[in-house]
């Protein structure tokens, strides 16, 4: 790169008019390491991949969501990191019916796909039906929702029951809109039976067909994903012309970002993020991932853990302060299952404090006679730098002080998760990441709910709690919803088998050259907004 051009880019950046320079430079910028201190037009991002696919109809993992979000824009989005209020994107306006069953969205007619064609209601119908019918991880998002196009610019979403959570769900990366003409030509199918007939995943893993600021250049589930700026982007053009997302373990991420080998590291643990020096900026934000412990409610699985007194002993015997020291700066102790950024979250003051005397008294009252209780956890998961193995040892040490003998029983997810799903774990240490930023996602923790059943909590065992949940699910008034969800969590903390521990902290470390970074709990980072 010649000196003059480098300087030109520098000037252009400071003037906020990169676009013109880029056009002048063409796409020859390879963005190799730049010693001159100017802004690099390639951004190197490091992440521990959990990537399986780049197909927007199937994507559900963290890395996948981040990448898909850059390529496929949803109807509604969240501004920056605020997930409490959906705002327009491809839909310029939206309106819910009074009964909460019908959501009508008007599309922005200026929106264009990366091939220059306009985004229409048909594309939305195709994309949503495909998500439903390929029967992938995100299919549940649209359970009971019918998608229709009333005219080329209007989409109508009709739900069987009142669905106040729907606008919060639409910004999910899996609900990004796909160019249906291109997708169909590549074998994509939206009709029922698409789980067998859809053949487009391989194509989506090598190409993209969305309206986002970036398009896919190359994709590997283990090495790196390369995105390049969409030169037909209809919104504000992104600053970086190329984004390289590399799969790197977090200890190496730390070294790379400090040495400016990369500009953004996304998986540092709280311990690794200490004392990084002045060369980098550290952004800490609480996530919507809640780590929790549960005691199985089913006496057939364990007469010990299903005893309410034993549960009380665990609840008040956990070493919350010690656990928080592992969770690190930026993490928050979870007062309830619903994370603090969402409507209906409990206040920090509601969080439990350790009470060893109460725990010991409860344990004595439970009739526990010192038998070893296995605690299962997924040994191959590290989330936000929190290793389940280390956390489990901390939990174990806390309970040992109460007099509860816990035997750690780690297993890879493939072995641990079926046990958990089938409700066979006596004690389980797991996490729940919000599928979408709305408290209705946490109805799963009620008796008979998806997670409730995993803790051996059968439907009908706590009728008043179920009643609160049923009402919360269909309430459309925001204030009433919030208070219903808070009631639900207080009650859960009283009679439920779940002990919420903490919401982990997303620690993002970036070079000083990177600005405008905001962590978003749904898609981690919006590459298009980075400067």
């Amino acid at each position: 790169m010649s000196l003059t051009r480098r300087r030109a880019i520098q000037l252009a950046l400071s003037a906020g008019a990169l676009l013109a320079t880029e056009a002048a430079c063409g796409k020859t910028n390879k963005g190799t390491t730049d010693s001159g201190g100017t802004k690099n037009t390639t951004l190197i991002v490091e992440n521990s991949f959990d990537l399986t696919t780049a197909d927007p109809g199937r994507v559900y993992e963290v890395t996948g969501g981040m990448v898909a979000h850059a390529m496929y824009e949803p109807l509604l989005t969240f501004a920056g990191g605020d997930v409490s209020k959906p705002v327009p994107l491809l839909a310029k306006s939206f309106e819910a019916s009074a009964d909460g069953k019908v959501l009508t969205l008007k599309l922005d007619e200026t929106a264009k796909f990366s091939d220059g064609s306009a985004v229409t209601a048909d594309d939305v119908v195709f994309s949503f039906n495909r998500v439903k019918n390929v029967k992938g991880n995100p299919s549940f998002l649209l359970d009971g929702v019918t998608v229709t196009a009333s005219d080329p610019q209007t989409v109508v979403l009709t739900s069987a029951k009142a669905n106040p959570a729907l606008p919060y769900l639409l910004p999910t990366p899996a609900l990004g809109i796909v160019n249906s003409k291109v997708a169909k030509a590549q074998g994509a199918v939206d009709a029922e039976g698409a789980d067998k007939s859809d053949k487009a995943e391989a194509w989506f893993n090598a190409n993209s067909a969305g309206s986002g600021p970036y398009t896919l250049q190359s994709f590997s589930t283990t090495t790196e994903v390369v995105l390049v700026a969409n030169d037909k982007y209809w919104g504000t053009k992104p600053v970086y012309t190329k984004i390289v997302v590399r799969n790197v373990t977090n200890s190496v991420q730390k070294l790379d970002v400090v040495k400016d080998t990369s500009q953004l590291a996304l998986d540092l643990s709280p311990d690794q993020a200490k004392d990084l020096g002045a060369a980098v900026t550290v952004d800490r934000a609480s996530t919507t991932t809640t780590f929790f412990l549960f005691t199985n409610m089913n006496p057939a699985i364990s007469p010990v853990t299903s005893n309410p007194k034993f549960q009380e002993a665990v609840r008040y015997g956990l070493d919350y302060a010690g656990i928080m020291s592992l969770a690190g700066e930026g993490a928050v102790q979870a007062p309830g299952m619903v994370p603090d950024k969402l409507l209906g979250a409990l206040a920090a003051g509601d969080s439990l404090k350790r009470d060893l005397d109460r725990a010991k008294a409860a344990l004595a009252a439970s009739g526990y006679s010192g038998q070893e209780i296995p605690m299962e956890y997924p040994s191959d998961i590290t989330k936000n730098g929190i290793d389940f193995g280390v956390l489990a040892q901390k939990v174990q040490a806390g309970l040992t002080e109460v007099g509860i003998k816990v035997k750690l029983s780690p297993a890879p997810v493939a072995t641990a998760l079926p046990n958990y799903r089938d409700g066979k774990e006596k004690l389980g240490l797991w996490l729940w990441g919000a599928d979408y930023p709305d408290p209705s996602d946490y109805l799963a923790f009620l008796p008979g709910g998806l997670v409730g059943l995993r803790a051996g909590w059968k439907a009908g065992t706590s009728p008043d709690l179920t009643a609160i949940g049923d009402q919360a699910a269909i309430e459309t008034d925001a204030t009433k919803r919030a208070s219903l969800y808070q009631d639900m969590q207080r009650k859960l903390n009283e009679v439920g088998p779940f002990m919420p521990l903490f919401q982990s902290a997303q620690i993002s470390v970036m070079a000083k050259s990177v600005s405008n970074f905001v962590y978003n709990a749904v898609w981690t980072v919006d590459f298009g907004a980075l400067k």
């Binding site: 299919s139 590997s220 790197v248 373990t249 040495k259 890879p412 998760l417």
Partner: protein, 348 residues
Amino acid sequence: MRNVLTWRPRPYLKFVLVRLGALVLLAVGITLVSFILTNLIPGDPAAANLGQRALSDPAIVAAFRHQHGLDQPLPVQYGKYLAGLLHGDFGTSQRSNRPVSDELAEYVPATLELAITAVVVSLVVGVGLGILAATRRNSWLDQLLRVVSLAGVSMPTFWLALAAFFVLFYKLGILPGGGRLDPGLDPPPHVTGLYTVDSLLAGQWDIFGNAVFHLIMPALVLAAYTVGLLTRFTRASMLEVLGNDYIRTAHAKGLPGRTIVFRHVLRPALVPILTVAGLAFGSLLSGTVLVEQIFSWNGIGQYAYQSALNLDLPAIMGVSLVVAVIYVTVNFVVDLLYGVVDPRVRLQ
């Protein structure tokens, strides 16, 4: 003296055919063992590949099982796999939904590049040091080399990798930390998948230099064990030959020491050395799993590790099969080389 022209091809042909037959049996055995083992595991591949919500939706789990043929009886599944294998189809990864053959084509060259480099380094350094030690038997140098080579085989690879990484990259910054190329550099056009070879073919000298630069640390770490091993065996096998009467005769004839070492000693000593080198190559292939993780080297070690954790059966079978075939092939080539090195083998 040992003329290649004295080769007699006929026993070799039979030898090759028997070996090929054994290879086919081995392939069946390997896949069968992987298949049985993976199915004995109480885990559920769906659990490793589906999200928490999807996993509790029977329709989605059923779709997943159907898509990957897991809803069929086990013998049918295995039969279909073998039938596919005959056509070069390794099945589809449950994790990524991509053909396993595509994934192998991506990861195998990365590991081969690393393992070949390590083996070449080991052969050159290990055999060299072994000769040195044998010819200066019981000298201080021999003792030193003994300690060094034993240290090489005693070194926990993963720890050495970590130490090298800490010192050479983190503290001193003289070698790159991880990956096959600097981030932001595009790999050379795909021909062999070995970046060093492909970059040369494309005439991209900068990429070649970068790829070599990235190879140094992981290859040396990986070679530590095999250098030690080869040094020990070269020394031992040289000493054994040196004890033979004809060497004494050669000395008595007044032949110079160098001639004796290279013409009369090294050649017969090469048989066990080659064997060990062949075996070492096999151990390098699977041993890379520990090194690849630390150096972010996306080879079959990492792939195997991920696949085993995810119970991704087609991937496990594919990677085991490839490693086994490479291993058997290398050892087969070694056996063929015996004939070149040692005519007694040819006469059998």
